[in-house]
Symmetry: C2
Subunit: 257 residues, 2 copies
C-alpha cells in the first residue's frame, strides 16, 4: 500500500486556490499509484481565520469542496481538513474521500486555545473507516496530546492513524512517534508549513512505523509531498516480542478513564 502526506502551505482565506492545489497534488499522487494521501489541518482555508473569514469560508459536509475533491479521488483516498458549517455551528473537520464519495468524517474534539472562540468541539468520536487497503482513523493536531484518542482508534482496529496538524509546539513531533509504538500502528502526520499573522508553523511531517521507525519525514519550511510503501497488516500484530502482546497484556481493570 502506498501512503503519503502533503506538507502543505495553504494561503489564508484563498479557498479556491488552495483547493486547486489540493486537487493537483491528488492527480499527481494518483498517477504515482498512491492509495492514501493526508493533508494538514484546515488545508482548505488556512488557520488563523477571523470570525468573518470563517463564516465566508466554512462549508457543509457534504458540500462543494468535498464534491469537487472526491471526484478526483479515483482509486486514491484523501484526508482533507476544512472548516465545516452546520447550522450556526462551526467545526474543524477532517474528511476521508474516495471515488466520488465521503467515506467518513471526523470533527476535532479537543479544541486548542483560540479555536475555542470560533469553533464548537466535535462529538463524532473516534471512528474507524475501512478503505480497500486498510482501516484508518482520523485525528487533528491537539488530539495528539491525549493518548486516549489514538488508543481508542487502535482498539477499534485502526491500522493507520492520519493526523492533520498545524503544529507550533516543538515537542509535538517527537511525541507523536510514541502514538505509533504504543499502539503498534502506522502514523501519518501531515503538518503544515508557512506563516500566518506572525505565527510560524513548524512542518516536520512524518510517517512512523509500528516499531517507531521514521519511514519518511520533511523539514520545517518546505512544501513537499512524500510517499512510501507499507504493509498495513503489520499493524494487526500487537506482539512486541514472542510472549508480549500489547493489547492482550492490557489490564483495563486497573486503569482510570
Amino acid at each position: 500500500m502506498k501512503i503519503g502526506f502533503v506538507q502543505f502551505r495553504p494561503v489564508l482565506a484563498e479557498k479556491e486556490k488552495n483547493r486547486e492545489r489540493i486537487v493537483s497534488y491528488l492527480i499527481e499522487a494518483r498517477k504515482r499509484g498512491v492509495h492514501l494521501l493526508v493533508f494538514p489541518e484546515l488545508a482548505l482555508s488556512g488557520y488563523f481565520m477571523t470570525h468573518l473569514e470563517l463564516s465566508e469560508l466554512a462549508e457543509n459536509v457534504p458540500g462543494e469542496t468535498t464534491g469537487e475533491i472526491s471526484r478526483v479521488c479515483e482509486d486514491i483516498a484523501a484526508v482533507v481538513s476544512l472548516p465545516e458549517k452546520e447550522g450556526e455551528k462551526y467545526f474543524i473537520t477532517s474528511v476521508l474521500l474516495r471515488d466520488g464519495r465521503i467515506v467518513g468524517k471526523y470533527r476535532k474534539s479537543h479544541l486548542f486555545e483560540g479555536e475555542k472562540l470560533l469553533f464548537s468541539p466535535g462529538s463524532t468520536g473516534y471512528e474507524v473507516f475501512s478503505l480497500p487497503e486498510a482501516k484508518v482513523g482520523l485525528l487533528i493536531c491537539y488530539d495528539w496530546w491525549f493518548p486516549e484518542t489514538s488508543r481508542t482508534l487502535a482498539l477499534k482496529g485502526a491500522e493507520i492513524l492520519c493526523y492533520s496538524a498545524c503544529f507550533i509546539k516543538p515537542y509535538a513531533v517527537r511525541a507523536i512517534a510514541t502514538r505509533a509504538v504504543e499502539n503498534r500502528v502506522f502514523v501519518i502526520l501531515s503538518s503544515r508549513v508557512g506563516r500566518e499573522r506572525g505565527v510560524t508553523f513548524q512542518g516536520q511531517s512524518q510517517i512512523v512505523s509500528p516499531n517507531m521507525e521514521i519511514l519518511a519525514s520533511a523539514g520545517e519550511k518546505e512544501e513537499t509531498m512524500k510517499v512510501i510503501d507499507i504493509d498495513p497488516k503489520e499493524a494487526k500484530n500487537k506482539k512486541v516480542i514472542e510472549l508480549s502482546d500489547l493489547f492482550k497484556d492490557r489490564r483495563e481493570e486497573l486503569y482510570l478513564k
Copy 2:
C-alpha cells in the same frame, strides 16, 4: 526539591553486595540533600534469575531488605525494586521507603516476556503516595508501553512518576519523555546498565520535565548517580497555554477504556 536516579549495575544474585551499594548511594545522596532517589528494576537481585535463584533471593515486603534500607532513609525517600515473595507467589515490586518505614509499594502489573514464567502480575493498581515534598507514583519497565498507567497516576494527582526499568528496546527511552508531556508531570527514569546471560541493558536513565525537557540524562554504559533541583508544583498546572488545560480539555465520554 532534589530528585535523582542511580543508573545502577546490580550483580546477578549477589543480594548482599547490591544492598550494600544501594545503602551507600543513599547515604551519599542524603549528604547532598536529595529528597527522592530512584533505583532500577530488580536492583537488589539482578534481572535474569533462574527459578531457583528467585526462590532464594525473593523477600517479603516488609522484610529484611526494606527494613535495612529504610533505616538509612532519613529525610530521603528511596524507590527500590526487588523480587517479592508472598506465599507461593513472586512479584516484581517497587517499594517507596522513607524514615524507617514503607510509604507504599507497587507490584508490576504488566509482565514482559519470560517474566510471565516466573512472576505473578501485580494487582496493587496505580496508587499515589504522599511525600512531604511531592506526590509520587511508581511504575516498572514494560508499564511505559501502556499510556493508561501514567495517565491513571497523573489523574490521581501524581506530580512525579518514578520508572524503574531494565530497558532492552531502543525506543523505550524516546517514548518515555512523552509520558511527561502528555500528563504534565516530572518523570524519573532509572534504567540499569550491565550485561546478564548475554543480554546488554541500555541505561539512558533520564529526568524529564512536564514540558518534555530532558533535565538530566546518563549514557548507555556507566553506573552513575544524577541529581537535580525541581519545583514539583509545576506539575500541578496542567495548562499548556492560556486557554488549554490538558485535564479540563479531556473528553472522557469519547474514550474507550
